[in-house]
Every structure is written in C-alpha cells, then in structure tokens.
Chain length 261, copies 4
Amino acid sequence: MTDPQETRIKSSMATMTADTITVRGHDLTTELMGRIDTAALFFLEVTGRLPSPAENALLNAMIVAIAEHGMMPSVIASRLTIMGAPESFQGAVAAGLLGAGDVFVGPTSNVAHLLQVEAKAFPGSDDERAAAIVADYASRGKRIPGLGHPHHRIDPRSEKLLQMQAEHGLDDSHTRLMLAIQRAAIARRGKHLTFNAVAAIGCIASDIGLDWRAVRGIGLVARTVGLIGHVLEEMKQPAAPAIWDLVLDNTDYSDPEPDNG
Amino acid sequence: MTDPQETRIKSSMATMTADTITVRGHDLTTELMGRIDTAALFFLEVTGRLPSPAENALLNAMIVAIAEHGMMPSVIASRLTIMGAPESFQGAVAAGLLGAGDVFVGPTSNVAHLLQVEAKAFPGSDDERAAAIVADYASRGKRIPGLGHPHHRIDPRSEKLLQMQAEHGLDDSHTRLMLAIQRAAIARRGKHLTFNAVAAIGCIASDIGLDWRAVRGIGLVARTVGLIGHVLEEMKQPAAPAIWDLVLDNTDYSDPEPDNG
Amino acid sequence: MTDPQETRIKSSMATMTADTITVRGHDLTTELMGRIDTAALFFLEVTGRLPSPAENALLNAMIVAIAEHGMMPSVIASRLTIMGAPESFQGAVAAGLLGAGDVFVGPTSNVAHLLQVEAKAFPGSDDERAAAIVADYASRGKRIPGLGHPHHRIDPRSEKLLQMQAEHGLDDSHTRLMLAIQRAAIARRGKHLTFNAVAAIGCIASDIGLDWRAVRGIGLVARTVGLIGHVLEEMKQPAAPAIWDLVLDNTDYSDPEPDNG
Amino acid sequence: MTDPQETRIKSSMATMTADTITVRGHDLTTELMGRIDTAALFFLEVTGRLPSPAENALLNAMIVAIAEHGMMPSVIASRLTIMGAPESFQGAVAAGLLGAGDVFVGPTSNVAHLLQVEAKAFPGSDDERAAAIVADYASRGKRIPGLGHPHHRIDPRSEKLLQMQAEHGLDDSHTRLMLAIQRAAIARRGKHLTFNAVAAIGCIASDIGLDWRAVRGIGLVARTVGLIGHVLEEMKQPAAPAIWDLVLDNTDYSDPEPDNG
C-alpha cells in the first residue's frame, strides 16, 4: 500500500464547503457571478488572477476572432458525428475539438513558446534578437510560426487586435519582438510575410500574461463556441447527409501505395 | 451520381471571402471583435442575433456559475488523459467534455424542454399548469428535473441568478412557471425541494431565448473553460499519478456479478 | 470524510501482482497469450468466460462484417481530425468512434434488447410472440430495428452470418424469434422487409450470450479496426484537404431558419 | 470553384456496389467473413494483405498482452465518463482511448520507428549498429524506448512473445537488432535493463511487416476491447462514485505555484 501521505492530491483551482464554492480564492456567488465574464473566468483559471479590463477585452477579441469561420474541418467532423450519434451533443463537440491540434490551433502556442521561452536565449535589442532567432530557425530548417497567409498582405484580424492592444495601452513587449521577427524574416526571405492571426494571438496572449501552454486554450474555448453553433444548426437543418453523398460521389478507388503492403 | 442540386449544403453561420469573414451577418473585424464578449458570441451562434446587455449578463453569470467546482469526475478524467497523452491538450479537454452528458449537464436542457415544449400542452395560469405538469410527471413515475439538493434549502447560485434576472428586468415567464412547478412539487411531495442551479439555468436560458437544445451548450462552454484550467494545473503540478495510486490501493477483486456470464 | 469501507472499489476484470496478470481468472501469459484471439478476449471481457470455438467464429464474423465500408461518416470525421491534429493518432480514432451512436451502431443493441428483455413480456410460440411484438411496436408508432434495406431483398452479410450460425450448430433461439418478427412485420406491412446486418448481429450476439448492452461493443471494436486503417492511409495519401475543398465549394449561405432566432 | 479534377479523393480501403463490398480487394462475404479473425482484418487494413498464420498468431498475442491490466488511468477515465453520460457507450470508450498517447501506447511506435527508420543510418552487424544507436541516443540525452521495468528482470509478456516468434519460425531481424540494442544499453549503463512489452511489440510488429505508424494501432485495438469490458462492468456494478469520493477525500487545497500567476 502506498504511503497515504504521498497519495494526497493538491489543487489550487477551487474549494467547496456545504455553503460556498471558492474559485481561485474568490467566492463564486458574491465575487464572480454577475461581476466577470466568460473570458475573465478563463483568465482566472489559467493565471490565478482576474484580468484588468484591457486584458479582458483583448482576450475576448482573440476568442471572437477565431471562433467561427464556417465549414472548417472540425465543423464538418462535428456535423458528421451528430448524424451518427444524435444522443450525444457533447460527443459531437468533442469530435470537433479533437482536430484543434498542432496544425490549426497549436501554432498560437508555438508563437507564445518562441516569445516566452526560446527568445530568452537571444540577448540584445528586439531587432538583434529577431535576426538571431530567424537565423536560428533557418539553420534548423524550421519555419517561424505565425507568418504568411495564402491571400492577405495584411490579416484584418491581426490588424484589429494590434490596434486594440495599442488603444488599451497594454504592455506590448512580446508583440514588438514578434513584429521585429516578422521584419527579420521578410528581410531574410526577400518577400512579404503576413503577420497572421496566429502571430497576433501568440504575442498578445503573452503580453497579457498567459502561459504559452494556456494559449492553445484560447482556440479551444473559441472552437467550443463555434462548434456548438454548428451542431445546433445541424440538428435543425442537416448538412451531413449531403456531405457524405458528396464524398462518396467524389472518391475513386486507387491502387494502394507501393509502400502500403 | 447524386444530383448536384440535392447535395448542396446550406448553412447560415458564416460567409468568407478573400477579404472578409461575416458571422451571422455581422462583419467579424468591424462589428464583432472588440464589441462583443465570448458569451455574446455564443448567443449569436445559437440564436442568430446579438444579445441585449441584460441577456448577455445573465448568460455570463450562468456560465461562471457552473464552470469550476474543483475535482469533478470530468476533471479527473481530463487529468488522467493528459498523463497518458501529454501531446494532446485538446484530447484531455475532449475527454472531460465527454462526461458532460445526461447526468450532469443534460438536465438543464431537460428543464428547458419541459418549459419550452412540454408545458405547451397544459393551459391555464402558472399554478394550474404547474399542478398539471407535476401530476403528469408523477403519473409517469418521472422526477421533475432541477428540483432537490443534497445539502441546501436554497442553492446560492440559483438565488444569485434569479436576483440578477429581476434586477435586469428581463422577461421571466419561464422562470415564473418553473417556480410554480417547484411550489406544486413541494405541495405534492409534502417536503422542501430546492430550486437548484439546473432549474435556474433551464428557465433563465429559456427566458433569454435559447432553444432548449442549445441550453446544454452553456454547460459545454463552462466545462471547457474549467477543464482547461485543470489540464494546465496538471501539467505544472501533476495529481493524476496520485489519483491512479489511490484507485489501485482501494480496489478489491470481486467475484463477477451472477448475471455477468 | 467518507467511510473508507464505503469507498472501496470492486472490479472482477483483472488482478495484478508483481509477477502475474490475471484476466477474468485466467493467467495472461500462460492461459491467454498464444491461445485466444482478439474476439475471444472481447468475449471474455464482457461475459466473464471464454467462448466456444463456434461462438468465437461467429463473433469474428460479426466484427469483420461491419468494420470496413469505405468512406463512411465516421471515417471522414477521423480523416479530418488527423489533418488538424497529426500528433494524435488516438484522437483521430476517437473522433470517428464518437459517431458510432444511436443511428449506425446502437440499433444492434436495440435488437438485442428487444430479444433479451422486451420479448420476455410476450408468451407463446415464436410466431405468437412475434405477432404480439410487431403489434405492440406498431401501436406505439415505433419501427422494429434491424428490418429493411434501401437496396437489398437479402442482405448478403446477414445470409452469411445465419448460414455460419447453422453450420456451427449454435443455439439459435433468439435468431428464430427475430426471423419470426421479420415474417410478422412483413405480413403486417404487406411488403418485403430485409433482415439486415443489424438484425443478424443483434440476434446472433444474443444467441452466443452477450448482454444486450455489450452488443454495441461489437461495432466499437469493428470501427476501431477500420478507422485505424483509414487514419494510416490518410497519413500516407491525404484525402481530407480534398474533402474540405469539396464541402466549401458546395456550401451555400442560407438565411437562417425562421425558428432559429 | 476548385478544379473538380483536383478535388477527387482517392482511397484503396474498400469499394461498394449495390451487391458487394470489397475490402482491400477481397470480397467481404465470400472471402473474409468466416475466414479471417479480427486481428487479420486489422493486418489487412494496415498492410493491404492478409497475414500468414504465424503473423496472425503473433498479432493476436500482442493485442491480448496489453488489453486488460485492471484499473489503469484510461479505464478510470472511461468509468467516470459513463457515470456522467450514460447515454453514450462510445463516448466513454473514446474518453479512455484519448489517454492512449505518447506515454503508454506511443512508445511501441517509437521502438518500431527506431528499428524501421532510424536504424537505417547505422551500418554493420547488429551489435555494431546497436552500439552506434545507443551512443547516438546517449549523445542526444534520449532514452531508448522499450528498455527497463520497475519490478521485473524479465517481462513475462516479452518472454512469451519472443518464444512464440521463435516457435512460429517468423523472420526476426528487427527482434535481433532490438535485443542487440538491449545488450548495448546494458553494457553502457552497467546495469540490467528489462526488455519490456513495449520493446517486444515494437520489434515483432516490425518483423511481421507493420508500418511503424500502425504499431500504435495495436494498442488502440487492445484498449478498445479492454475499455468495453470495464464500461460494461461499470454499468452493472458502478465504481465511479467511489472513485470520485476517494479523490475528493484526498485532495488538499494548495496555494498556487509561484509561476502560476
């Protein structure tokens, strides 16, 4: 039998008694309900403190920026899931969230990791650090996350977020470094690289104090909101049967890949 | 081949062009980012319109009320999942969401269904309708969702939500009916039945115009926020190994149930 | 603090010591590995005993029958998920499994429930019971699960399974009742109703002794096998980007449903 | 609109017509049902060919070896999930699968990757290659996957699998290299390192021709089988409420980590 002392679990998220719930030190009914919004609760959960109004506003803007883009892959997955399992709303939302990984949502955390952790190894001014970081990534054959866009020279969501950050007078040290990295990368590549929404979220989330690992959480909250909207629409006006038909009509049998057995 | 006309998919959630994203008819960067919060976006997704300030405040209060209660079953599931699969933050959150089903989150939708759909079959004053509904449930051996609590005569979260609803001057027709149902159920059972948070969310969500199926979404957004907090804490200060040890130390081998083969 | 006596957990699935693992009373390395196959292990897990060779053969045939049908909705969901989260093979498989619910996989359990539980209320010969069951379903406006097929008068998978059951000389009391139900339903409806694979799995699984709740597990094992194949193929020869393009190209913005806000 | 030619999807898994289903070129009812078992279907899915009897036997033994170990973290997650969402058997199984990631199941794929991919860079005899691989891992501060065990000098599951591989006369080139790696690692570390089940599965799966990425699938099939057993037992004899109580009784509120905000 394990030593009971060793198996005690520690958590600083919440305490409950028969009469009260305390979240991160704040009484739920008297200090939180009616006083903070959903984004502020997220901020409290992942940092342990309540956000300033400016931090709160930026966090909401980031969530709103990425929650709803129409028929994205995760939306399609959720819609196909509710068709097969209409008894489980949460299962359909979970199926969509499972695609919020390294390709679509993870890069925001990678930008934050670059700025919060990797950048510490590079001293100097922002431009000196940026040049060294860009050279380091190039030497390892890695792409800087957050730069580039198939259509836009300027990503309107990034522009809006940076403008809000300036208007609210928030600390912008991570944003300035990320903009310097953009300039250095453009100089090295000799072509324009858009400062996309991934970059904006990665640096602004860092500036408001979110741990780089928590930055992925912005995308997960946003996706949950968007997926709920689509699952409800799917229940009222199904698209999944037409999606399935489309895929069947457009799939060709192919001989297996040579290395495939 | 299916008729292409038949396989076209319809959605009113969002439109994208090379330059703009429009969510439910609102331009993302100029009309939504910086102007609405996360709860308002949820409201827009599931109703198609922006909430009034009062509706927005109540929706936030409902989400905040149920997001974080410490070591709940879904939190434990998420923590155990990130221990085995640290590469997938979204997988750990999804694992926790999967438990947000008929027992813990679903009853809010059941209250809303009762008030929005089932109650239509019962005419009269609130008290007449409530008496008939309680009698109908009793005749079918069903319990009214949202009534009862192991410890509290008054659920402080319900009290806070009802007080906010009154202060904001919101329509309260569903809330009045649910309170009448509480009175009728108490009269029938001859003992106190607490108007718990499930009841409060079910009726207030109905009063602010949410489809009963979308009411579950309040719990899913709330859980996502809370689970992200716990998964992040688990990464910094692991509890799952101690949880696993505890379970192993407290599990007895039992002979199978007789009907178990 | 809870009484420690009350919180002890009971399970009869496995015991572990420093030297041995015992599964359902059988030593893992000396009695199971090398002696039983994957389907027999499933049988042992859900019934507590090892299957006879005939039961084992039928269980394998049922799993094989439903594992791989090409681009099914759950397959599409898994492929879209691995595109967004290539770090999580298990997440992509889980996303596909989440669609294995009441519409596609659940009906096998419904057939088994009908035969194992509901049918007990109806005495008499198989044909008498079948007539009463069909009348009862009709009076409640419910469809009998497992009957009907869009294309086939005879489902070749059902035919093969029934033939195997006969060849192996297995008890077939549930199968005979289900065939009687088919006859009664055809007589009542005045048109042919195919005995589809759902019916065959529901009755044969009952005949080999699986609890009706475990019958869903046949589909889950089968789907897991099939989804792994598709996720691996997706990694080598991606289809998800083309699926996404197809959906985007075939989605029309629609005005919201009137009841949608 | 995308060029239709570009959006066509290719797959070699299955073809369906009104009358037949063909899986990897084999007619489902006449060539697969009744002729192959569940493991052989898995093999067919991921390699494109049917296994030899020896390959089939080893694959079953590997699945059986790791399917059921009692109250593992993923089992606990599944049990807690079905408590909250009893409507979704598949959701509970999926929740457990989500923990089958880099820590518990992934290492089998890492062994296979080492043997199938990384080892190609190291020429010579098995012992020469093994010494170079061990030195390379040490120079990068990485541990060789599959070596070491908290209790056993010999893992009885590995011993059984290697014995079966020898008895069936299977190609064992990957196994021999992995055993050479074990010897080289022991020599370098100057202490015994157990050849555990992860090592055995990684090398034997490679010897029977599974792509290293598909090796994770062995664990996913095995876990699905085991999780189904536990979810069914949980439905009949609940353990989750006692697990939840245990965790609540053993959780201490802790002050947040200093870096936690």
